[in-house]
């Protein structure tokens, strides 16, 4: 089977700081990484390939230096990598991104066989929108399976797939037909370490680089800023909260009184939680 995994190179957002005095964004030394959620998608894709045979193609849209992330994906064991890069893509929001990626996936299909499954992470850590996966599914008419925690039976002949999917309050088991788009939940499987042979191959591999035209994209008005209905008007630092915990005064109080005080403070701080706790207690 042919599997396409979409990954994104993102800044390691945990390393971004806001200067406490000047209230400015400090981006110095913030490294770029493969979106951590995408690694789980890549792992599931590789497992599926190892199970059923075939090939994994990794795709990213980004600046030329995003090649580093693709090479890393090859180190894990992906078979080929495609970088979609063009200055026309600058400023793409999720709608424009899903357009460009879906066109590239079509082109990948023409070049190396139509993909049976397209994987993405559940969301990115920089945008957190969780929207590009569904966007691609919609544009390519793939059956959409988001927040997937496990992949069950896959029947290539019958073109069916079963997955477990995180839903509100539980896990949904779904069956659908291929081709499908799957966004993968974090923590699904332990991410493998690439074998030495894969690492050596990755170090020397040629990454396929496509600009818009090479990816078969002709409608430039659907790309980049022009193709993006949303616009970021303002980026700012949140108001800091008092950093120190408010400590219960333990002097001259019995432990029982302190526990009462703590419970009262919790109920105060979280309106509605008392009712929910009661509802829960009543249920059991």
């Amino acid at each position: 089977m042919h599997i396409v995994v979409c990954i994104k190179q993102v800044p390691d957002s945990a390393q971004i700081r806001v200067h406490p005095v000047h209230n400015t964004i400090m981006r110095q030394g913030v490294p770029t990484i493969i979106n951590p959620y995408d690694l789980f998608a890549l792992e599931e894709a590789l497992r599926l390939r190892d199970r059923l045979g075939g090939a994994v193609t990794v795709l990213t849209m980004g600046p030329p230096m995003a090649e580093d992330s693709l090479r890393k994906a090859l180190t894990f064991g992906a078979d080929r990598a495609v970088l979609l890069t063009d200055r026309f893509f600058a400023g793409s929001d999720t709608l424009a991104t899903s357009y460009a990626l879906s066109m590239a996936i079509q082109k990948i299909g023409e070049s190396w066989g139509t993909p049976d499954v397209v994987f993405t992470g559940k969301q990115t850590i920089d945008g957190d929108t969780a929207q590009v996966g569904p966007g691609i599914a919609r544009r390519l008419g793939l059956n959409q399976l988001t927040y997937v925690s496990a992949i069950g039976a896959v029947d290539l002949a019958a073109r069916t797939i079963e997955v477990s999917r995180r839903a509100e309050g539980g896990v949904q088991e779904l069956a659908t037909r291929l081709p499908a788009l799957i966004t993968v939940l974090e923590g699904t499987s332990e991410i493998r370490r690439g074998r030495l042979a894969d690492a050596l191959r990755a170090a020397r591999a040629e990454v396929t680089v496509w600009n818009a035209a090479q990816a078969g994209i002709t409608e430039m008005t659907k790309c980049g800023l022009r193709g993006s209905p949303t616009v970021v008007k303002n980026v700012f630092a949140p108001k800091g909260r008092a950093t120190k915990a408010s400590l219960l005064d333990t002097r001259e109080k019995t432990p029982g009184e302190l526990a009462e005080a703590m419970m009262a403070r919790i109920f105060d701080a979280l309106p509605g939680i008392e009712g929910d706790l009661l509802a829960h207690a009543a249920q059991y």
Binding site: D12, A14, Q15, R17, G29, V30, P31, R193
Partner: protein, 95 residues
């Protein structure tokens, strides 16, 4: 000295913790040597702590891989020190 200070400092650092595979281990012991006990004070990441039982433990998550503990306890052989697996451990942003 001030453990709090070190925690705050380490919070600025970037790590990829290899869960379940600590790269430094303290061998089981009843009473630590002076050298091992010294690590509670001198480990620059404050990784070593003394337990109620008087033994010394390590949580290596904040380790900066300097190797001081390795050098100090080389004679006593109380710790097992390895590099983390490739890609894991501290990831210096500036170095």
């Amino acid at each position: 000295m001030s453990g709090t200070k070190i925690e705050e400092k380490l919070f600025q650092n970037r790590y990829l913790v290899d869960a379940g595979r600590p790269h430094i281990k303290v061998r089981a012991h009843d009473a630590p040597s002076e050298e091992l006990r010294a690590l509670v004070d001198i480990c620059p990441a404050g990784c070593y702590t003394e337990t109620d039982k008087g033994t010394v433990e390590i949580v290596a998550d904040g380790c900066m891989e300097c190797g001081t503990c390795r050098i100090v306890t080389q004679e006593t052989g109380e710790i097992e020190w390895n590099y983390p697996r490739g890609g894991y451990g501290v990831l210096f942003k500036f170095g």
